[in-house]
Amino acid sequence: MKKALRTLLYAEWLNFKTERSLLLFALLILMAGGYGIYSGHAEIQRQRAKIEHLDHLYQENIAELKTKYADTADAGDIGYYHATFARHMPDSWAALSIGQRDANPYYIKLRLLAVHNQLCSSENTNPDKLATGSFDLAFVLVFLLPLFIVAICFNLFSAEKERGTLALVLSQPVSLSTFLLCKLLFRFGLVMLLVVLLTAAGILFTGAQPDGRVWVWLGATTLYCLFWFGVCYAVIVLKKSSAFNAICLLGVWLLLTIILPVIINVASQIKQPVTEGLALTLKQREQVHAGWDKPKDETFKRFFAHYPQYRNTSPVTGRFAWKWYFAFQELGDRSVESLYQTYLSKLQSRADWANRFSVVSAPATFQVLLNAVGGTDLQAHLAFVKSARQFHHRLKAYYYPFLFNDQPFRHADYNGEPRHVYQAKPDKAAISMALLTLAISTAFVFALAFVIQLFTNPELK
């Protein structure tokens, strides 16, 4: 048995060496993977560069204000004219799976004004590029690797049968299952070799932190490959023609990698509509602008309820004062806060809903997992937005004492302004969930394959 296995594996190796199509496919996947790594890296590097450049814009803005307010300034003017940035630094793994990072802004320009509209602003992106999606390593693994597996496995039995070599081999004391197992094993080894090569190249080229995620990445990819080998096996044991297998497997690929995820997404949008975004921005405008017309006493009364420490500061007597302006900006924020929270939680639950149903499609689960590993999913963006919101609070905490205590804003005070960088993190909960789902899907496919094998005619002729 052991000897037969070795012999068959060796024969596969001899065949592989001489069969050009297999080599070509392997080469193609390596090239695609290489390009994926390069282009993912280029995209993330560009984001990094843009984020770095923000600092330049920030300093430029301060320099301009320093010229404009040569000595000291009213903190209100600074709050109004000065813009700072909340930055979303990519994780070191982001380049391998760009996820939603190209669609969501990776920095937010913030002024002291009402925050919600600022949080919802978006970045310059070419919609055509977004629609086509990133060509990153994750794309190669999620979409192309299954095609590669299908391409090298679909005729693994049928070709021998159609060519006629099967009879001679099976008149030797080797069972059909050993024979198939060897062929699958050889191909699995080949695929894993490519996976390891690409992963290693990806990690080295993009500078991903070689932490525990290496094992998660490899483990998940192994499971995903096993899943597709299971699918191939389930079709192979039907013992149909090569053409049937090719059509059938491509059909399964299409169903699992395109049609099912697409349907789940449509369903999630119909099932969990999010209309709060538009409502939020309209309401915020009304609330903030209403501040101009409300009696100042009333505004301050509501404001001081939240900031009792400023209650006994100098009263506003004239037509306009910055502290009054920012007080009603903040009250505008507070009046839409619950709507904003609903908006966020609806986004969250829509994504959760879709992720839950991605169980039916291993490619979707795998993509969710890779995005979670790279910290590039919607989760990561929402966490960043929350952190940007916190940052705005810190900005207010810095500027309010200047405003309410009528303290002049000196040049040195720019240095004291809080800064913000949010470091994207892998989403551990999503990772373990997806890993488990992937394992279950793989087990399911193998069980299905064995059931099919049980019910198909074992005869060869």
Partner: protein, 473 residues
Amino acid sequence: MIKTLAQKELVSARRDKRFVLLGAIIVLLLAVAAVSGVVSYNQLSAERNLAQHAADHDFKSQPSRHPHRMAHYGSYAFRPKSSLSFFDFGLDTYTGTMVYLEAHQQNSANFSAVQQSGGLLRFGEMTVAFVLQWLIPLLIIFLTFNTFTQEKEQETLKVLLSQGLTVAQIANAKLQGYAKALSLIILPALLVASLFLLLANGLSIDAGFLLRLLLFLTAYLVYFFIFLAGSILISALNQHSRSALLLLLGIWITACVIMPKVTANLGSLLYQTPSKAEMDATVHHAASHGMNGHDPQDKRTAAFTKALLAKYKVDSVSQLPVNVDGLVMAEGEAYSSKVYAQEFDKLANTYHQQSNVSEWAGLLNPYLAIRYTSMALAGTDAAHYVHFLKAAEDYRYRLAQHLNHLQATKLKYHDKETRLDNSHWKNYPAFSYREPSVGWALGSHLVSVVALLLWGGLLYFFFTRLITRYFTL
């Protein structure tokens, strides 16, 4: 003779269980796509119409206000869904739906669907266009990959040839037969889709709509013809069904899955998009220091005021018959808008250059050609998006200038107290977006249209010649 043969292909296709099954699946998917397209079209249209009306209503019902307050109160432009968009979502999911329009500032278009979705969205969208662009070619391949090779393998082809038929005649018969078989699936599907289109268009039939519909149908028929003729051609030039199938599937995967991504990524690697923050900074810098860098804002304002004083022959701004505040602001708005328009054109041009890589690749890949043609006809491509953004900016500019003009003519110098009554806002026309014409839409995708026609034409004229020339038994 050809007719008899074509009839044979039609009958055997109809009796082919695979064909019936795949056809049924495709019709089902088309139905799902059409229904979900209409549902989402109605949902989004209603949402945006409602929001646009609410925003307009809010603006029009503002009480007496200082005009500059109104300029900051601003307005909103919501992008209306084009009536054909349900057919092909195009880039709609990836474009912002709403722009806040206020004085001095050009805001980004926000709330695109992609920002409000998880990663699953990126797998694609179930639209009629997806089924037509991806799945029908696949159906054609499955149906025809072995049409010649099987006859070679079973040697029936020799029998046919010994009857005195030429290979070209057989090929033409096959083309006709399969075209008929396919039309059994495609025509009802397209009819139903057209019906949905009519419904989505509110049952109103105007010339522009009919023209778009007609062009849609023509474009897709050309696209299907390309795949049908190409697939039969490859079957004729191959010796084995297996190799023909593998070659065709390889072509399909390259054309529909790999190449679009490669060209899109290449485009964005070659042409860098400036970030919004950079662009804002550039606009701000140019507006305050002058477009040439030696014409700062305060100098411009001083010169403008001086010219104004000279024009009205007075010594101080308070003596002017018009309010200099409004005029200065109008002047500033005009200048900064000009700067912005320049930067925006640069940005739009960058997008265009990026997408051009994919569009020119349409000459190699009919999928890319139909993709852009279809999006253009549906009004869901990048050009339409840019057109909308420009319309929104144009409206913003006019509104801001209208309000500046009110301030200049109806208010005194440095007057921050006077309020103008509601009639000034109530009668200002609301933002209404008019879609550009079909000609404009196709004009910005000439490359794709030409590529599609070129492919169709070349295959039409060279189909039999290629087969006659390169066919081997």
